[in-house]
């Protein structure tokens, strides 16, 4: 089976063009709001907080905040990318094209993940303006960022296919993902929690992402780094399996 590369490229370009057309909303606004966190928590409040694991509080929260933004933007961007044509009706063209489901995923998720990477790196660069920090393992850092971006873009793509209303498009991100990210150890080390809550936190997948990502910066982590990588890959595997299931059933795309 040959790959319809022209189609993958067409979808990718189309989605990137949409990103650049809405630059303010898709890039500038998340960068600005994350910068406000750095300003408030990092410099203003952070000055009154002690260091965690030997890292200044202002620097400590950077990886978590980047993760948080990349994660939620990946979901919302990827879900929006596939929901929009469903909603406007232009999906007819994708459905009638000689494009396999895998190629559609490659185009849409590839573009969404590219945007997430750009966003993550831009936020890291902005953070440097407010807070001095070093990256101990830059390649690991990039790997974690990429893994997170791809995984949560896949997750967003699934939500976008599943949703048949704007409400449904929002419900999982706001009701599930946002709480998990805020409780995922972006602002604190889970070792600071009471033992019971430490245990409960281990059920939160975001903890592993944030912990692993922070390790790539400062070499300190809440959970074992191997576990972090394993959990992220595991979640990615679940998303890929779900995508495969959607592909086999044509779920909600075709009547």
């Amino acid at each position: 089976m040959s790959l319809n590369l022209h189609a993958v490229r067409a979808i990718y370009r189309f989605e990137m063009a949409r990103t650049f057309r809405t630059l303010m909303q898709s890039i500038a606004s998340p960068v600005l709001s994350t910068s406000l966190y750095f300003l408030v928590f990092g410099t203003a409040i952070g000055a009154r907080m002690g260091a965690i694991d030997g890292v200044d509080y202002g620097a400590y929260i950077i990886p978590g905040l980047v993760m948080l933004t990349v994660l939620s933007e990946s979901i919302s961007n990827a879900s929006f990318g596939i929901y929009l044509p469903k909603w406007s009706g232009t999906i007819y063209e994708l459905l009638s094209a000689p494009v396999s489901f895998a190629e559609a995923v490659l185009g849409y998720v590839g573009a969404a993940a590219t945007k997430s990477m750009m966003l993550g790196i831009l936020i890291l660069a902005t953070a440097r303006v407010f807070v001095p920090y070093e990256i101990a393992h830059p390649w690991w850092m990039l790997a974690f960022l990429l893994l997170t971006a791809v995984t949560f873009c896949l997750f967003g793509f699934i939500i976008g296919i599943w949703a048949d209303s704007w409400e449904k498009l929002q419900v999982i991100p706001t009701m599930v993902v946002t709480p998990l990210t805020f409780l995922g150890g972006a602002f604190y080390s889970i070792n600071m929690l009471p033992p019971l809550w430490q245990k409960i936190s281990l059920f939160n997948p975001v903890v592993y992402l944030v912990s692993g990502f922070r390790w790539s910066f400062y070499g300190v982590s809440d959970v074992n780094i191997g576990l972090s990588v394993g959990m992220t890959l595991g979640f990615m595997g679940i998303c890929l399996a779900a995508i495969g299931g959607i592909f086999r059933t044509g779920y909600k795309l075709k009547q």
Partner: protein, 319 residues
């Protein structure tokens, strides 16, 4: 003009059935063969199943049963080759509001697996009078222009078969004629065209062959001329020298009607019948001493044929 030399089948539909999730059966074992290079009109009232049929062939709706081959490729097992051969202009004006015309047609070409070809795209846009709008955002265009954009998108990858689902619904007369012109040009370039419509005149003016669909069933598929001949009723109108108050008993039993306040006799006959019976009619008129000063005949239009077909036998009796 019949452009078909050898009637090679380009779309082969067999036993196509569709039952929607709500239990509604939109297609009932439809068999249909479209010949390469023809203009085929699928004619039917709203809800007949035209869009469903097209959507299945194009891969947007999955069939409940039956098979479809396009250019020899099964739409299920060989969907890439089948779909690459098809262009679809949907019934609804679904467009990407924020895209430029050029971007959207380039996107379509890529999506259908073709390498970029600005020369071809320019030709398509020019033929649709869209060239000077190529950089305009689609949302700034009128409805008719958006319809053209959809056609341009469908032609971007040089399809062998073009489906036009109610292309002229809600389109002004001028654009309608331009579109018909375009369809004829495409046919001259070897593109097979399948259009659905509920405008009879469209089918009558454009099509080489016509299929009539109603309640998910193909009622008839015929060459347009044959259809007209087979199912058309002819009327012979005799303008009488003097008015008749009623039909004379000697003429009873004939399909005759008085019209024009008794000044005309209308004789209806089936062009399908062995003999028209006109000779006999004229003889009997002569016997009755009824003179006429003029006579003319008219053929029923496709519209009348259509109405009698979709109404079924009862409708035909009372029509």
């Amino acid at each position: 003009m019949q452009p078909i030399i050898a009637a090679e089948t380009v779309v082969a539909i067999a036993g196509l059935t569709k039952t929607y999730a709500n239990g509604h059966q939109a297609l009932k074992a439809v068999d249909l063969e479209i010949r390469r290079g023809e203009i085929f009109a699928l004619l039917g009232p709203n809800g007949a199943g035209k869009t469903t049929l097209i959507s299945i062939v194009c891969g947007i709706v999955t069939a409940s049963a039956g098979s479809v081959r396009v250019a020899g490729h099964d739409i299920g097992t060989d969907f890439r080759a089948a779909r690459a051969a098809i262009g679809l202009v949907p019934q609804e004006l679904h467009t990407d509001a924020f895209e430029s015309v050029w971007a959207t047609v380039s996107f379509s070409r890529g999506l259908f697996g073709k390498a970029p070809d600005p020369v071809h795209l320019e030709r398509v846009l020019r033929s649709l009078s869209l060239w000077d709008k190529k950089d305009a955002r689609i949302m700034t265009l009128s409805g008719g222009m958006k319809r053209r954009v959809l056609i341009a998108k469908a032609l971007a990858h040089e399809p062998q078969v073009l489906f036009l689902d109610e292309p002229t619904a809600g389109v002004d007369v001028e654009l309608r004629h331009e579109m018909w012109q375009l369809v004829r040009e495409l046919r001259e370039h070897g593109v097979t065209i399948i259009l659905t419509t509920h405008y009879i005149e469209e089918a009558e003016d454009m099509a080489d062959r016509i299929g009539v669909i109603n309640h998910g069933e193909l009622v008839v598929v015929e060459d347009k001329a044959t259809l007209m001949r087979k199912l058309g009723k002819k009327q012979l109108t005799l303008h009488l020298q003097g008015p008749l108050s009623q039909l004379p008993p000697g003429l009873s039993g004939l399909p005759l009607e008085l019209a024009d306040e008794g000044n005309a006799l209308i004789y209806t006959y089936d062009t399908q019948a062995e003999a028209t019976g006109i000779a006999g009619l004229l003889r009997r008129l002569n016997e009755q001493g009824i003179d006429f000063k003029d006579l003319n005949s008219s053929e029923s239009s496709l519209e009348e044929i259509f109405v009698s077909l979709v109404r079924g036998p009862r409708g035909r009796e009372t029509a």
